[in-house]
């Protein structure tokens, strides 16, 4: 179930998009998101759609993998479409009992569906083509200016990368605790959703205790290896702009400027 959700996963490949600087990809994603929320005409969506399609093709990530990412938001998508279609006032096209579908509702629903799918696919493209460690160090470097406002940028980035590293370990641990409790007669599989959720509480308590213990030990190990915050720290793989990054940045700026001319 969890494995089916591809959002946020990394899809290893050697494409140009994969090799781009994480900061460029982050900026591109922001520009793209703004583009799809700014317009609600067909011509407004076209450039963003063409952009997205180009990136998908160049990155070499299979369409099937990308569509799987949409599955995670399928319910939200349906919900939005139905509500938009039924709730928007306008010229009534079909009417049945208290439900009416209007022309404006239909176009609204269409745009909403398009916008959300493009949002999910577009932001997904960033995570598919960037390793988590690149992503965190890219964000750290982009948000560094916020440091003047006392935002702990390095600390947040470090927390993110540690969290990512411990997800599989904690999942394994959850599994271990559940098995240990099942061996003593705990029942996680029967009853309605509330009963099952309640059965998980005894799993969460030891999981939290052990997570705190791990955090303590990890902090000690980090200190023992000279960790003293972000000050004076260097990186094994520093982010460096190559020619391809400058070209992409120019393309993004061109795209943003071009948006101004869309009717």
């Amino acid at each position: 179930m969890i494995r089916d959700i591809t959002i946020g996963q990394y899809y290893p490949s050697e494409s140009v998009i994969h090799r781009l600087d994480a900061r460029v990809k982050f900026i591109a994603t922001i520009a793209y998101v703004i583009a799809i929320f700014l317009f609600d005409t067909f011509w407004g969506f076209l450039p963003a759609a063409v952009w997205l399609l180009t990136i998908i093709i160049v990155s070499g990530i299979p369409f099937r993998f990308i569509l799987k990412g949409l599955k995670a938001v399928l319910f939200l998508l349906l919900f939005l479409v139905i509500f938009n279609a039924l709730m928007t006032p306008g010229e009534v096209l079909v009417q049945w009992w208290i439900f009416k579908i209007t022309d404006k509702g239909l176009t609204n629903a269409g745009f909403m569906a398009l916008r959300l799918s493009m949002l999910v696919i577009g932001s997904g493209m960033m995570t598919y083509t960037t390793t988590p460690s690149q992503l965190t160090s890219g964000m750290e470097s982009l948000f560094k200016p916020l440091g003047i406002f006392k935002v702990p940028v390095h600390e947040v980035a470090m927390m993110m990368s540690i969290a990512l590293r411990f997800i599989p370990i904690l999942l394994e641990e959850t599994d271990k605790i559940m098995k240990a409790q099942q061996a003593r007669g705990a029942d996680f599989e029967s009853g309605n959703i509330f009963r099952r959720a309640k059965a998980l509480i005894p799993v969460l308590v030891p999981l939290f205790v052990s997570a705190f213990r791990r955090a303590g030990e990890l902090a000690e190990a980090m200190e023992a290896r000279c960790y003293h915050g972000g000050k004076g720290r260097t990186k094994l793989h520093p982010l460096k702009f190559a020619a391809r990054d400058y070209i992409s940045l120019a393309l993004i700026i061109g795209f943003v400027v071009g948006m101004g001319f869309v009717p």
Binding site: P132, S133, R214, E217, E223, A224, T234, L236
Partner: protein, 277 residues
């Protein structure tokens, strides 16, 4: 290299109002000198203070009384803490809880990154360290996919990349399978012999101490017994009092009535052959 001068350390537990609830003395007026290039094993039952001792060597803990000197630096001087930690690395018990990064390479680089090392130098040292422990081929893999012994080797490489003078192993084999144990103890000996790194090995496993230059047995924050493995293991009765056992070969040799203090399989076979002849 490492010198403890009349060190006392107390864990002070306080209640909610900040009043002292209880005081546990983990190190009690302990003095100790470890020479450069020495391989010292520290034994002791749980709560004997051996982990507390280890944490003093790289300034994770500071003495309540007395002084700890590491490579000439006093651990109670806050400004020297990084110098000390760079010289005295520490391998912990749980391999999972000391790996920070998502690839082997990046984890090995964590220490040098903290030291603010230039990138070229760092890459060179990281590559060297990974080759030294035989993990160069796995440098881009996730540590989650490695075995316990390999994870401990990643931790060792992470210390080696800082060019340490001393490595403290705090029960590094407690969570490993026999193959992993052998791998780590062998690596420790190799680093001691070939690179001249001072090794301090804290363990529960008697067999792992047999190759050490010196064994220190701790009890209630004091040194209860000290000497070469042969000296220590010839005092079987005292060891049992302290809650320790003899290494299997020593015990076996005593039971079959062989003379002398036998430590390894080879010695046992040799002595046994001589006896039955």
């Amino acid at each position: 290299m490492v010198r403890f001068e009349n060190v006392t350390f107390e864990y002070i537990r306080r209640d909610e109002e900040g009043n002292v609830d209880s005081i546990t003395t983990a190190l009690d007026d302990l003095s100790l000198h470890i020479k450069k290039g020495e391989f010292v094993a520290i034994l002791g039952s749980n709560g004997s203070g051996k982990s507390t001792l280890a944490r003093h060597i790289n300034a994770l803990l500071k003495p309540t009384e007395g002084k700890v000197l590491v490579a000439g630096y006093d651990t109670s001087n806050d400004k020297d803490t990084l110098e000390i930690r760079q010289r005295a690395g520490m391998v912990f018990q749980n391999p999972d809880n000391q790996i920070i990064a998502e690839t082997v390479e990046e984890d090995v680089a964590f220490g040098p990154e903290n030291m603010g090392m230039p990138v070229d130098e760092m890459q060179k040292r990281v590559d060297e360290a990974m080759k030294r422990v035989g993990l160069y081929k796995k440098r881009l893999e996730s540590p989650n996919r490695l075995s316990g012994g390999q994870k401990q080797k990643v931790a060792i490489a992470g210390i080696l990349a800082m060019k340490p003078e001393c490595i403290i192993f705090d029960e590094p084999t407690a969570m490993l399978d026999p193959a992993g144990r052998r791998m780590i103890v062998e690596t420790a000996h190799e680093l001691n012999k070939k690179d001249g790194i001072t090794i301090i090995l804290i363990t529960h496993n008697m067999e792992e101490t047999v190759g050490a230059d010196r064994i220190i047995v701790m009890e209630k924050g004091r040194i209860a017994l000290e000497g070469t493995p042969r000296q220590v293991f010839s005092k079987g009765d005292r060891l049992k009092e302290l809650g320790m056992e003899l290494p299997a070969m020593t015990e076996l040799a005593q039971r079959v009535g062989l003379d002398g203090c036998i430590l390894t399989r080879e010695e046992f076979v040799e002595a046994y052959k001589k006896a039955i002849r």
